[in-house]
Symmetry: C2
Subunit: 350 residues, 2 copies
């Protein structure tokens, strides 16, 4: 087997975060699970899907997160880099600094050569070390289809941690990357993606969300990274946790080159539908085009950070991150809690 000739995306049925179990199913299955409280667990999670914060003592908090998925691109080194960048992203979303990563690898030895395994880890290690962390271990099993991910730990000072619960009315919302990884990788899998879009989506997914290193950490009131539940699902979670409402402007949403065109070509997957269902009772759309509607539901892999920041600081923050995140832009604002946690409008109403 020659690793150069294998298209990883053709070895699996479900790609990337699209293979995530629907949030509603997970919540239902775990409804009866009673978890003990622990005073050191500053941030846990009811949906079992985000980073946790554990108080180590003094003002030091340990950030812990874990993510893994099937290939969404064809090149093993790219996939390794994306899997690592995606897992590390949750540490950045808490305002932290990554320290260690443990690999989670399910590898089909019957279908793929061990060279592919080496390339996957080479790509992953490059991103882990770019983040300043180290690969400290992991576990590998023989399995039918390839899955790769990482359990990542990070550190953050107690008073500098970003959570999803601090967004305040008057804040503006900044998104740091373009949307569209779901639709473009869906097209890629069936060889319908434009080459320019493929290059752009791989570059975007490989980019580390190193925002906490670029800006003053105290200027961010709330943050999350946009992943499987899409912009709509994750912004809903932040708005609910913060007890506010978000107004987001659909026309202002940055896209990875060709994402809207890909949606117009009906390149949607199962997660688009489950995300639509997930937010159906809490997110409303006011005069938003069909294309933009699906863009807000597009499941992201290694998506951007959504930052809620005071309006007065927003220009400075954009100046600091734009050299690295060229598509970063203001996409909406935080308002007093209304009937719906998130309202998507066509354009901004300042």
């Amino acid at each position: 087997m020659d690793s150069k000739q294998i298209r990883l995306t053709e070895t699996v049925k479900k790609g990337g975060c699209a293979a995530k179990l629907p949030a509603s199913d997970l919540r239902k299955a775990l409804a009866d699970l009673k978890l003990q409280k622990n005073k050191n667990l500053i941030v846990g999670t009811d949906t079992l899907d985000d980073a946790a914060l554990w108080h180590l003592g003094g003002d030091q908090l340990l950030i812990q997160t874990l993510d893994f998925f099937t290939p969404i691109v064809d090149d093993p080194e790219d996939f390794g880099a994306i899997a690592a960048a995606n897992a590390i992203s949750d540490v950045y979303a808490m305002g932290g600094k990554p320290i260690t990563a443990l690999s989670i690898l399910a590898f089909p030895t019957e279908h793929l050569s061990l060279d592919v395994l080496g390339s996957l880890m080479k790509g992953a290690v490059s991103k882990i070390e770019e983040s300043g962390a180290v690969l400290a271990g992991g576990h590998t099993i023989d399995d039918e289809t390839l899955k790769l991910g990482f359990s990542v730990s990070g550190l953050v000072c107690k008073n500098k941690a970003w959570t999803n619960a601090g967004a305040k009315p008057g804040d503006v919302l900044i998104l740091t990357k373009g949307l569209g990884t779901g639709t473009i990788t869906t097209a890629l899998k069936i060889r319908e993606a434009k080459e320019k879009s493929v290059i752009a989506v791989i570059e975007s997914m490989k980019q580390l969300n190193r925002v906490p290193e670029l800006i003053a950490q105290h200027s961010v009131n709330a943050a999350t990274d946009i992943t499987g539940f899409g912009l709509a699902g994750h912004s809903m979670q932040v708005a609910l946790a913060s007890g506010v409402s978000f107004e987001i402007w659909a026309d202002a949403l940055p896209e990875i080159e060709g994402a809207r065109a890909s949606i117009e070509d009906e390149m949607l997957n199962r997660a688009h539908r489950t995300n639509e269902k997930y937010v159906s009772e809490t997110v409303i759309y006011d005069s938003v085009s069909d294309t933009n509607h699906w863009l807000t539901l597009d499941p992201q892999t290694s998506g951007g950070l959504l930052l809620s920041v005071p309006e007065n600081d927003s220009k400075k923050i954009l100046d600091q991150i734009r050299p690295f995140f060229k598509l970063s832009t203001i996409i909406g604002r935080v308002i007093e809690k209304g009937k719906h946690p998130v309202v998507f409008k066509k354009t901004h109403s300042f």
Copy 2:
């Protein structure tokens, strides 16, 4: 689908730690991988298969480990408990105290009802909380076959951490659980296991390796937990890391009820063979029966701890752990480094 009627072991081809990728393959695939050094990473791992130690500052060390596998028993709650006990075990093997667990779950929604998912996590949470840790998050994907595991973190004081590098000539070797999870679960899968053995193996795998809480931590010179590579593979790793040799007495090895009989019925799996290959150049057998030979190679899931302790302390330690670990016993001794890291003899030669 009724979760009571589903035999989880029939839903997969390879069970438990037996599905682990052979160590030699992994080493070969990762031979070209160059990892950066980091002064805070006190213990990393070349084979990517053990717990890591990270210096948090002061005298506090963070222990990090990760393990997951396919079902090796039929009941979802039992499997959840075993998967958790197995993952937590590495924290105990470093002399530490578990703090958090993140779940790693691949769930076949097409074949299993969501009730099964709830039962898996119920069993897991019971063990996580029994250990004093909390379930702090995780990730779940839709997949062809069920896999469950945990990324577990723990804490240990710098001068109290157990590693596999401290065994000293003059020490004796204590094994805390019986061997035989590989052969008995192989028989279970094809309905050839005796009921008594099934009950005993499930009880053994569910038991937490809470040894650090029972004994004086400073009295242990080296420790590891016996998992996929069997007693032979893991004792070889400890002997090599410590720069000593081990003499282990095959007749003294404790077994889970019926393990030797199961081996005599030829209930062996692929991991027995790969483990044989893994140790073929470093471990020798002197007048050891075929049955005991395979018992030393039996891949363990949630196996016991192997402790290297000064002979003078060994009686006290056994007195402290035997009320909880009834099969715990002295199985060998540490000698000056010889030609082979591990020599299995028929009986002890004191």
